[in-house]
């Protein structure tokens, strides 16, 4: 498996399913899942982990600050 | 060594504010209170105070809202028309429970009215004026000395109850000159304003939030209880009035501010002619002295002297609970048809003789 440089964690409590993370990820790592949050928002999922570069664009574009971005360090 | 000066009601307010430790004034020009605004424009910069002239009374009351929220003694002064522009801001000050002082020098109304004296704002200043059913403590000075003293009292009461206190003057009190004693009035100690906005660094990192709405701070019902209890406490503790020759009187004048000065002279003249007339002068228009008036009702008649249309008479009727006849002598009794007219003592006596 190719070594991904980073990973993101999406908070189900804060996410409102607006889809900006899906729209703005330059590597299309995030897609809309089929799971719904307690408030009924359709949650995105970090699908293509291997392409993530930990650029944090998803985090910055998230109105709810629901995304934490981590970078792997060897 | 007592320090005395000869000054006007408007400027006495300025001296009183300085003695009260107020160093922040935000105001807008309007007759007949301009000497008050001009006093602060002249004096505050000399003593490191802040004078800001705003673009409207709506702005100046909101500047007071901000300065009071930052924990300093702040005030504004205006006149009837301008006071009307402050109502929304005052209602927000009431909800946020911000201590501050407003001076309102009454002039003829309604509308643009006149620039000269009148007493036509009683209901506005005591029954709310703005939305929401809040209460302002209202002090009514009847002398230049009281203008000086009441500002110090006003700032004390404002801080004590975190409530707006209004000094209600009028064109006569504002512009007449009397010699006054400059003195610092003593009051009980007050708690620190640890709720004030200063920036987190000045409070050990704690953030504070002040709101003019219950939406974000507390359930509505709790908010109503807090305000309701406070107003009851003020009503129980802060009523002020003066009884003048009422002990043996069978005819009582009820008047505040400049009309009280005129009525006091009328009492003296009537007494010299053998009429048992007295005066009760409300000093706090809110909380209104209902009980002190009720205590005078048995077998007495009342004449409310108020330079305008019938307003305070409503509260006097409430106080007497129908046990006494209550009459009114108002603006139509002025000695001149034009805006410069006044109610003179002999006109009051003429009315007393008709009714006694």
């Amino acid at each position: 498996m190719a070594k991904s440089k980073g990973e993101i964690v999406i908070s189900e409590q804060f996410c409102k399913g607006c889809g900006y993370c899906v729209e703005f990820c330059p590597k299309d790592c995030v897609t809309i899942g089929d799971k719904f949050s307690a408030q009924g928002y359709q949650l995105p999922i970090f699908a293509n982990e291997e392409d993530c570069t930990a650029c944090a664009i998803c985090g910055k574009m998230c109105p709810e600050s629901a995304i934490e971005v981590y970078k792997f360090i060897s | 060594m007592i320090k005395r000066i000869l000054t006007t009601g408007n400027e006495a307010i300025g001296h009183g504010a300085i003695y009260a430790g107020c160093r922040h004034f935000f105001g807008y020009p309007i007759t007949p209170q301009n000497q008050c605004t001009e006093f602060f424009a002249r004096e505050f910069p000399k003593m490191g105070g802040v004078f800001v002239q705003s673009e409207s009374e709506t702005a100046s009351i909101n500047m007071v809202y901000g300065a009071a929220a930052a924990g300093v003694r702040a005030m504004t002064s205006t006149a009837s028309v301008g006071f009307s522009l402050m109502q929304e801001g005052i209602s927000h000050i009431a909800m946020a429970e911000l201590p501050c002082v407003v001076v309102n020098v009454q002039r003829g109304g309604p509308g643009m009215g006149t620039t000269q004296t009148a007493q036509m704002d009683y209901l506005q200043v005591t029954k709310g004026g703005g939305h929401g059913g809040y209460r302002n403590i209202v002090l009514a000075p009847a002398s230049v000395q009281e203008c000086f003293d009441f500002i110090q009292l006003a700032f004390y009461l404002a801080d004590k109850y975190r409530n707006l206190v209004l000094a209600l003057s009028d064109g006569i009190i504002a512009e007449m000159a009397e010699s006054i004693e400059l003195r610092t009035l003593e009051f009980d100690p007050l708690p620190e304003k640890d709720w004030a906005l200063k920036g987190k660094a000045h409070k050990g990192g704690r953030r504070d939030f002040i709101s003019c709405s219950n939406l974000l701070t507390r359930p509505t019902r709790d908010g109503l209880k807090v305000l309701g209890d406070k107003f009851h406490e003020i009503e129980a503790n802060e009523v002020r009035y003066e009884n003048y020759m009422t002990e043996d009187a069978n005819f009582i004048l009820v008047a505040y501010g400049s009309s009280a000065r005129i009525s006091k002279e009328a009492v003296d003249i009537a007494r010299s002619e053998g009429f048992k007339v007295g005066l009760i002068r409300p000093i706090t228009l809110w909380p209104f002295p209902y009980k002190p008036i009720r205590d005078l009702t048995h077998g007495k008649k009342f004449l409310v002297v108020e330079d305008g249309l019938e307003q305070m008479i409503e509260d006097v009727r409430c106080a007497t609970e129908g046990k006494s006849e209550v009459y009114f002598l108002g603006g139509t009794a002025r000695h001149l048809p034009g805006p410069g007219g006044m109610i003179f003592p002999d006109r009051v006596i003429e009315e007393v003789k008709k009714l006694i």
């Binding site: 980073g6 409590q13 409102k16 607006c18 889809g19 900006y20 729209e23 703005f24 928002y41 930990a54 944090a56 985090g59 910055k60 574009m61 998230c62 109105p63 709810e64 600050s65 995304i67 934490e68 971005v69 981590y70 792997f72 360090i73 060897s74 | 922040h24 935000f26 490191g48 802040v50 800001v52 705003s54 673009e55 709506t58 702005a59 100046s60 909101n62 500047m63 809202y65 901000g66 300065a67 929220a69 930052a70 929304e88 801001g89 927000h92 906005l197 200063k198 920036g199 987190k200 660094a201 000045h202 953030r207 504070d208 939030f209 002040i210 709101s211 003019c212 709405s213 939406l215 974000l216």
Partner: protein, 256 residues
Amino acid sequence: MKEEERGKIKVYGRPRLKKALPLMYCPGCHYGIITSLIAEVIEEMGIEGDTIGVSSVGCTFITTQYFDLDFIDSAHGRSPAVATGIKHAHFGKPIVFTIQGDGDLAAIGMGCIINAINRFEKITTIFLNNANYGTTGGQLAPTTLLGQKTTTTPDGRDPKTAGFPIHIAEFLSNLKGVAYSARCAVNTPANYNRAKKALKNAFQKQIDGVGYSIVEFLSACPGSWKLTASEAMKRIAEDMIPEYPLGEFKNVERII
């Protein structure tokens, strides 16, 4: 072979000064992104200890809850006056900013901000332009675009009856008291970064006492525009920016 042990560090998360609360904004509302920006800028500039925010009436009313800063809300359109009171209360020491929507600033509060600037107050205003009254369901605002349908211009804004969109950043930049005036957006990561620089410039003007500073944000309002988040985001580039060009309209080091 077990994958080689790899540590990871957090490179991005909720800004420290943006409190961990669910926001009361509609899904996709740009107020949330702008709130992050403000929180990041104030933290990075190291001024949180002396900063006091003044919110206004509209969707900005609730921003008071999302910042770990001293904050106060105020009457509709009056936050520049409230900010004046606060700023002078502490003799100019605190960093005071207002955060206002387009109805609040450009309609009911226009006289207030113009005079605050003309009095040469040293305050920063963050102006959120979403071209309608969002909180109350999407009525016409002074910044509503020509032809834009709102609940009070059901057939689209017609200048004959509802006048013209107003350009606040350019308009206020003509006042002598303004040291910095810019218009930004957060509809792309690049614009996000430019907006952050603009906000820092604006606060720096206040810190240096140069003059009044304004940053206008074009802000998507999916709720009251009655669009999905993605459509609202697209609308910023397609409809809003053509009417409201981004950029700096004034940036001076000294005024007097």
